[in-house]
Amino acid sequence: MFWRKRKPSDPAAEVEAHLELEAERLKERGLSEEEARVAARRAFGNVTRAEERFYESGRWLWWDHFVQDLRFGLRMLRKNPGFTAVAVLTLTLGIGLNTSIFTLFDAVALRPLPVKDPATVVNVYQRIQGEASYRSFSYPEYLALRNADSVLSGLVAYAWIPVELGGGAATTDAEEAQALLVSGNYFTVLGGAAVLGRTFTLEEDQAPGADPVAVLSHAFWKRHFDSDPATVGKSVKLNGIRFTVLGIAGQDFIGTEPQIPDLWVPLTMQGQLMPSDDRLRDRGSFWLEAVARTRPGVSIRQAQAGMNVLINRFSRDYLGTREQASITLTPGSFLARPDVRGQVDSLAFLVMAAVGMVLLIACANVANLMMARATGRQREIGIRLSLGATRRRLIQQLLIESSLLALLGGGIGLLLAYWMPNLLIEALKPPYEQPIALHLGLDIPIFSYTLLLSLFTGAAFGLAPAWQASKPNVLSVIKDGGSSSGQRLSRSRLHHVLVSAEIAICVVLLLGAGLLVRALKRAQTVNLGFDAKRVLVVALDLNLHGYGDIRAAEFHRELTEQLQTLAGVKSVSLASLVPLGGISRSAPITIGEHEPSASLPSLSVNYWVVSPNYFETLGVPIVRGRGFSVQDARGGPPVAIINEAMSRQFWPGGNPVGKRLRPGPPSVPFAEIVGVVKNTRGARLWEADEPYVYLPTLQTTEGPPVQTGQLGMKLLVRAETNPDIVAATLARLVKRLDPNVKASSTLLEKSVGRWVWFSQVGATLSSALGLLALLLAAVGIYGVMSYSVTQRTREMGIRMALGASQDDVLKLVVGQGLRLTLLGAAIGFLISLAVTRVMAGMLYGVKPTDPVTLVSVSLLLTAVAVLACYIPARRATKVDPMVALRYE
């Protein structure tokens, strides 16, 4: 149809020709020239109509109308720069925020992994039945599972390891790098090809310590070797060991974690890089993350079932434990760990809901703006209606105008979304040092999201004003410009409804924010079970300088003695693991005298090897029995201390002191329980009531290696007053003992911060959003009250003429504003009851109806509302009654 379109002038020419022919014919009949012409026209009918219809039938009218409306809309926007600016700014904020959050969520959770063929890649997690948290894998477990050939085409294991570049001989400027220990099939399974040289194969991962090779990441190669192509084959020293560079990875290959490793090294090199800690043979050391690729045609569920069978067989045969393990496979993504992912999903949902609400407030404000402006256009609309415009056409045109505004806002919002996610990540980064490689670019999904959101927004705030503006009360509008009170009343009602809605949403956000802030405070001051104040955690890198267990023990002893003489030091002790350190070690524990049987099971319990002062240094009270003594450390009958949770679990109601347990595999002798200590938080902040076994450090050479091996233990130093001074002194002492050794001290208190990062993010974000919402709502209140005062100028004038004082007028206006606020707040509180229930999981010990929060939010809102009403109210009082009465 379209290609048949004739030139617009063609039909006109044809009509003209027709008229001439007809005139000719009539002239032949005897009419004069003039009469013939007139008669011809009459016979034709309405020429203009015919031409119009002709024209219309040959075109896509809807397109014509659309272009017309578009041009008109743009012109309208240009003519009102003030209005356009305010509206677009508000929308930019709303849409931009939304898109930013979506970008983040998309980059972290929705995108497929940046590996080859991501659809078949899965994350692998294991969980012990009865425990809520997920556990990493041990190396023997991994090897056993790797043979699950029937369902997987490859199982990859990896773990992060910080390494010192260089190292060995005294290098004061040793640089730190983050390396990733990976199984040999890492690159083949994930499909990462080397840009230079080659990557590992299983060959390089066979014998422990046999293949000191490394693959560099592209970024690291650029940074450290200046992108020198001759780097392949060169060697780099990691923790003092010489590694050969096998190849450079491609620029886009980053693996399965958002952080980019600097180098990849084979798993079998773990023992060399961490000399005190051979995890390859340790069945009880769970430190590996796993990722796998399913075989084609095998579903995730089938693969999961297959692996479940394997892991349980392994647990039974290899670990000798009775516990049931289960494997969970999730589709590959950066944040796939089921317990974390659930949290992330709900967090993302809440955040998006929150920014969505802010956007709604913005929409309400713009809608109010549009309605206010529409009253100025009543005349124009009235004339158009009376000339025959359909209501639908009018609404269409007004909607196009609002869509233009929304698209403009969305376009600029996209720019906002370009740098805001990076800003957010910088500000809210968890305490990792590694750069995160999230794909935060603006690409098709983001773009379409923004486009759809903008259009939806345009409809949201444009529909009500358009509907209202096109109400065909034509007569009154043309006569007196629509200032009849009837119209005004219904219009202001809509304004008021919108503002109340804004305030309701604002209240919900503020309450949510308030509760999260309170929860954060609670989490930060949670009872740890020990006193973390002024305690230093000192890590010594003895393992990098050739120390063995015996020399390490010597070093520790000397350092401890020297520290204890210092005035500023209250107590010093050693520990294999630090509370809130993030690492836990467990061993199969046998309760009682007997070998494991059905009635007395053996299971995995976390153990901590500590020096005698430990409980004193951390301020952990001893509830029963005694602590460790110096004799225990020197050798003697093996002893152990347990915590309350363990006591309750295995000797409920009884006294465990004097009972025996075996803290390890059968090679370890039975130990006598000599004391019970109060519960403390474990390796992670949420581990509050877990059973723990404490074993004394042994200064003899005989005994279980976990207790005699002091390499890698941390020092805990309680300072009397100022921990920083102690740290400095400690560094000096260490240097005096051995100039090569470095000591890094951190405050134990700081580690709490690491665990509350999540709450911190929640509290910060929601507070920011809540305040933004408050600002927008305040602007909304101001706008509506301002408008209302202008509309009611006459009324104010009459009141004042009849004797009302300025104060009365002030009270009137502010009172109206407060009434709106009250209504909105009431609705908001009701809604928030439901919302906070959803959030209850994140509210750490804070009731959803926390009165402190409720009261503070109410006060804040009232104060802001009064302020927002005050300025228009003042303006109302300045009205001169005489002028107002004449105002029309």
Binding site: E14, G45, V47, R53, S57
Partner: protein
């Protein structure tokens, strides 16, 4: 811009006009004015067609491919756009004519013999 009522009337007329136009063109190519005059004359001035109404109908028929059009010179040396019936147009004419005759016959049967025919 046409309102809804006008559109309705137009559609009814278009159906009828279509078949009249096609019929007229059986006798050979003709321009718009000629077609209008022919319909009027052949119907003994019973059917008074607004000449203006012809053109949208002609446009539609042209779009459907039942007639083709070309600028030419009329009998008295004036420029005019001539319309010709196409083969599909012929077929359509037969179809429509049959329909119309059947409709007219059926109505006639219902109405019965003409009263006052003597």
């Amino acid at each position: 811009m046409s309102t809804q009522k006008e559109k309705d009337r137009l559609e009814l007329l278009q159906g009828t006009l279509d078949v009249l136009i096609l019929r007229t063109l059986i006798f050979g190519p003709q321009h718009g004015q000629g077609i209008g005059r022919a319909i009027q004359q052949t119907s003994d001035d019973e059917l008074l067609v607004e000449h203006g109404a012809l053109y949208p109908a002609l446009q539609r028929l042209e779009e459907r491919g039942w007639i083709t059009a070309e600028w030419g010179i009329s009998t008295n040396n004036r420029k005019a756009r001539f319309y010709t019936l196409t083969r599909p147009g012929r077929k359509q004419l037969v179809k429509e004519t049959t329909k119309w005759r059947r409709l007219a016959a059926a109505i006639g049967r219902v109405l019965g013999p003409e009263a006052g025919e003597g």
